[in-house]
Amino acid sequence: MIDAYVDSLLLALRHDRSLARRVRREVEDHLWEAVRADPSVESREAQRRAIAVFGNPGLIAAQFAAVSLQKQTRRTGAAVVLIVAGVYITMKARVAWYALMECAISNEIAAIAQLVGSIDRYSFWLSVVLGAGCWAYSGRGGFQVSLSRKHRNLCRRFIFLCSAAAIALVVSVISDAVLTLLRLPKVDLSLEFLIPTLSMLCEILGAGVLVGQIRSTAQRVAITRTMLEAL
């Protein structure tokens, strides 16, 4: 009976596996302790009582989902800032490498490179500004048990800011990739080719992780809202 109750609670928390694992152990421990503390009655009846006193699994799962959402938003706010900073360091390191290797862009494509470079710069700094906004919003937290209008708007603005920061960063990374392709003389296994390519892969990976993180946050907002509305 206790297993079935815990399973129903965890089914609603399957979007956060680490939380679900911890909740399973805590809730099982609690319920069996309650059964042990009620030795006068038959075990099945004691289990039924322990479950009844523990409360509605839908309500408890929704409360856990709100806690999980708050953690996720903080993580996403930090991820935006760290990934944008990481891309900046990678970009600067690559430029320093080009200077060291005296790898210049030929005159025929200088105009295109300048245009792409401008797009890169503006989109990157836009991602910095939006990323700072995400980070500030994530610290505001306050994702309460009832996802009130105020908190729904907070979530909506947070997801919008994060998405806008991610789009600006993706544009910047694509521009970087174009500039890297314009600069690289030929495809081979020399350091001159491998270092910029690897740094580009790091940028692409960072942007991918950020997009995944934002997607996961948006999903959790939707799940938490659905759970709270079902109460």
Partner: protein, 109 residues
């Protein structure tokens, strides 16, 4: 009313010594003279939320029964938050006490 003060209640229950969820509920019942009858399960999201806010820390411990339990304890910040909330509650309680007073009630009787 209880819902709005759950964090204060949990922090107060943990002020004596670290405890796992079941013991926190027992402590709340004992200290409140069985006055608070909240669904036991709602204590766990509150414990997780307070831990996330840095007011509690927790670790796994093995009980005599062999089961592993998550034991929660107040942090320095948690003690500060409890003292602050206790002071706010005291001011509120004094203000309500002053408003209700005993004088009008004795005059009625």
């Amino acid at each position: 009313m209880l819902k709005g003060h759950l964090d204060l209640i949990v922090l107060a229950a943990l002020s004596g010594r670290p405890a796992h969820g079941y013991a926190v509920i027992e402590e709340i019942r004992r200290k409140s003279g069985q006055a608070f009858d909240l669904p036991e399960g709602t204590i766990y999201p509150a414990l997780h939320r307070l831990e996330q806010a840095g007011l509690l820390v927790s670790h796994w411990e093995t009980a005599d029964s062999g089961r592993r339990r998550r034991v929660y304890a107040l942090t320095r910040r948690g003690r500060g938050a409890l003292a602050e909330r206790r002071a706010v509650w005291q001011r509120f309680s004094d203000a309500i006490g002053g408003l209700l007073g005993t004088e009008p009630l004795t005059r009625l009787t």
